[in-house]
């Protein structure tokens, strides 16, 4: 089996997709928590996935790394930014995608695609945790729940709280104040989701063309997609296997680099 590897070295998780170049399909995919030993963690995950397929590294024909830790991975042939990889991965899952909203652990992005699926333009949040998965983690921690159950908590809200600050540090202070004032954790959770969605909508500046596909780890938090829909006034589709789209795109781009003449399915 000939394998093209895509590695997304994200701020919270490392994601890897093995693409079977001969069969044009995903051979294996997996993820692991990120840490200080980024290259070792990526290598361990890669080897584990290969072994699971009865393979070793000799099967690798091309490897593309993406994500904020991409430049630390010497096993990659090349690096490509997560903007391009997310666009490619989303396009594979949703060929009709026009706008991609990607909220990951460290940043949030908007990617506009042209008719052929290429990146036309993009926007990213500033360098702060506001509006990112890290922000949700801080909130969940403060509310004493897991990020995964934050959406379920928010769904019980009767009146989402107004969170005025989108700086993660100041917002935490606000949340403490709201809880002290007797606001329910459910209303705080819903308020935070609304605030993140509003921030993303502002970043778009009205330039949101449907279909809008929502990807990245935060897309899996229940309630976030509907918060985005409310903030943008548009339909939002959650991308299948959202946390993996960056690695998927990297694997597809690796396969394309391997043989530029050979079309890879979209």
């Amino acid at each position: 089996m000939n394998i093209a590897v895509g590695i997304d070295a994200g701020s919270r998780r490392i994601k890897i997709v093995l693409w079977d170049v001969d069969a044009d399909r995903v051979a294996a995919a997996g993820c692991a928590d990120q840490g200080v030993r980024q290259e070792a963690l990526a290598t361990e995950l890669l080897d584990r996935l290969l072994v699971g397929q009865g393979l070793d590294r000799s099967a690798i024909r091309a490897c593309v790394a993406t994500g904020y830790g991409r430049n630390l991975l010497r096993l990659a042939d090349t690096t490509i930014t997560e903007i391009t990889c997310q666009a490619r991965g989303v396009r594979y899952r949703r060929p009709d995608a026009s706008t991609v909203v990607d909220i990951g652990g460290q940043d949030s992005k908007l990617i506009w695609l042209d008719a052929s699926g290429r990146v036309r333009d993009f926007a990213m949040n500033d360098r702060c945790a506001g509006g990112t998965g890290r922000f949700l983690e801080i909130v969940a921690d403060r509310l004493g729940v897991s990020v995964a159950s934050l959406g379920e908590l928010a769904s019980r809200s009767a009146a989402p709280a107004a969170i005025s600050s989108m700086c993660a540090v100041f917002a935490e202070t606000e949340i403490v104040g709201l809880l002290a004032a007797g606001v329910s954790p459910a209303d705080v959770a819903a308020g935070v989701q609304k605030a993140i969605a509003t921030r993303v909508a502002a970043m778009a500046g009205g330039r949101l063309n449907e279909p809008i596909v929502f990807t990245g780890g935060v897309a899996q938090v229940s309630g976030m997609a509907s918060a985005l829909e409310a903030a943008t006034g548009r339909s939002v589709i959650v991308c299948p296997d959202a946390p993996m789209t960056g690695a998927m795109g990297a694997a597809l781009l690796a396969a394309e680099r391997l043989d530029a003449r050979r079309p890879v399915p979209r």
Binding site: Y68, G69, N71, T79, I80, T81, E82, I83, T84, D107, R118, V119, R120, D121, F122, A123, M124, D126, R127, G205
Partner: protein, 460 residues
């Protein structure tokens, strides 16, 4: 056959310098190995990649020895004028007077970068209540108070009004330390009303004649102050006209360099050295003759490279238009490392690159140049010029670099980015660059890399 040039590190420069010396390198008095500046505290040099030519070495040495020249000017009894905030007009006026040396104290804004934060300048500014909510140019306050960067000027001139709120506040704080400043007002460049006579400015903007008249009056006042500081010299319009001709000679040489580099199909000079070369237009790095010589050498070098088919790697480099200077010089290296090249610029002093009219009374010509500054009008005006320039240079993407704390950057970036998207349909990235950007280098690489990838994807 195309040859490839490689940028080199500071450590590489040691061997390269020895090699050049052996082959008879012609050096000016301020010459020498680049590493001596590192030894003197300019630690950031160790993180930069440099052009390996003698012309680039001379450029770096000129830029990094300005302090020595100013101290020498003081010892020689010359009159030192600090031209603050204005980026290309008062310096022309000051340099037209005999025995006057004009310099740009605002240039200290790069000190926190070049010294990698190991400087007391910002702490001194903090102690005066000018903290990090201000642009890094606040380092200038520390420079004045410590006397560490330049000798105390004999005269300080500062533009105020439609220039920069941060800088006005910083300069006012400086004045409160007991220094006399000759303030002059730069009015907002407004669209002339229907009944007003108007004038077409260099660069293409239009202003009312009344605005030009007002600025001319302000310049006359500054000119009188300069002549008085220079020992009671008479107001000599012929001298100013000669000063304008000298400024234009330098601007023409810089234009030749920019056109050769920006229009070349392959990268002939790194973006970092081009940024430094453009800075010479503001006040000649306190030595017009040497600035001319340096630009001449750079022109010769890029012309030689072009004729010999030599270029930096990345033949497919994406042509970028760059807006605003980065507070960290290292970011200019990132452009090339990410597969781009800078082929058009607006570093906030484009009016210092345009030629000053020589067929007008000198102060009238300078007044028009003041109003031709894109920074003194609406952000939409500046965005319009940026779009026109990006199109002219054939740029494929635009990077708007923001300076943390700089008040105009907070809102202007969006206006420029929207204009580029709407009018040119090019991808745009907005980036924030602090004086030492190492901790956010991965994020900067992502933004710069993504805009380059997007532009490259559009070629297909």
């Amino acid at each position: 056959m195309m040859g490839e040039l490689r940028t080199i590190s500071l450590a590489d420069w040691r061997g390269r310098y020895a090699q050049l010396r052996e082959s008879g390198l012609d050096e000016p008095g301020y010459g020498g190995p680049l590493e001596r500046h590192f030894d003197g505290g300019y630690r950031r040099l160790a993180r930069l990649r440099f052009d390996p030519s003698p012309a680039a070495l001379r450029l770096w040495n000129l830029v990094l020895t300005e302090e020595d020249r100013l101290h020498q000017a003081r010892r020689d009894g010359r009159i030192i004028v600090g031209c603050m905030k204005d980026l290309g007009t008062i310096a022309v006026l000051a340099w037209s007077l005999p025995r006057v040396v004009a310099f740009y104290p605002d240039g200290c804004w790069w000190t926190p970068c070049i010294m990698e934060g190991f400087t007391p300048l910002l702490k001194i500014a903090d102690s005066l209540g000018v903290g990090e909510s201000f642009c890094p140019v606040r380092a200038m306050l520390g420079a004045f108070l410590s006397g560490s960067e330049f000798p105390e000027p004999d005269l300080l001139v500062c533009g105020v009004g439609a220039t920069c709120d941060d800088f006005s506040a910083i300069a006012q704080r400086l004045e409160a330390t007991g220094r006399r400043i000759v303030w002059w007002e730069v009015p907002h460049r407004r669209r002339p009303e229907a009944h007003e006579a108007s004038v077409l400015l260099p660069g293409g903007y239009v202003a009312s004649c009344r605005s030009v008249e007002f600025v001319r009056g302000e310049l006359e006042r500054v000119w009188a102050a300069l002549c008085e500081a220079a020992g009671g010299l008479p107001l000599d319009a012929g001298g100013v006209a000669a000063g304008i001709r000298r400024a234009n000679a330098l601007r023409r040489r810089l234009r030749q360099l920019r056109e050769t580099v920006f229009l070349s199909p392959r990268p002939l000079m790194p973006s970092l050295e081009m940024l430094l070369a453009e800075m010479l237009a503001i006040h000649y790095c306190s030595d017009w003759d040497e600035a001319m010589r340096v630009l001449g050498d750079l022109c010769d070098e890029v012309t030689r490279r072009r004729s010999q088919g030599l270029a930096l790697p990345a033949a497919e480099a994406v042509r970028l238009f760059w807006v605003n200077p980065p507070a960290d010089l290292r970011v200019m290296n990132l452009v090339e490392e990410c597969g781009g090249r800078v082929c058009g610029t607006d570093y906030m002093f484009t009016h210092a690159l345009d030629e000053i009219p020589e067929d007008l009374p000198p102060l009238e010509a300078l007044a028009r140049m003041v109003l031709a500054d894109p920074m003194t009008g609406a952000s939409a005006d500046r965005a319009g010029r940026i779009c026109a320039e990006a199109e002219r240079w054939g740029c494929e993407a635009v990077i708007v670099c923001r300076v943390p704390g700089a008040s105009h950057c907070a809102t202007e970036g969006i206006v420029i980015a929207d204009a580029v998207r709407d009018r040119l349909g090019l991808p745009v990235a907005e980036i924030d660059v602090p004086p030492v950007a190492d901790p956010i280098e991965p994020a900067l690489r992502t933004r710069i890399g993504a805009v380059i990838e997007a532009a490259r994807g559009r070629r297909k």
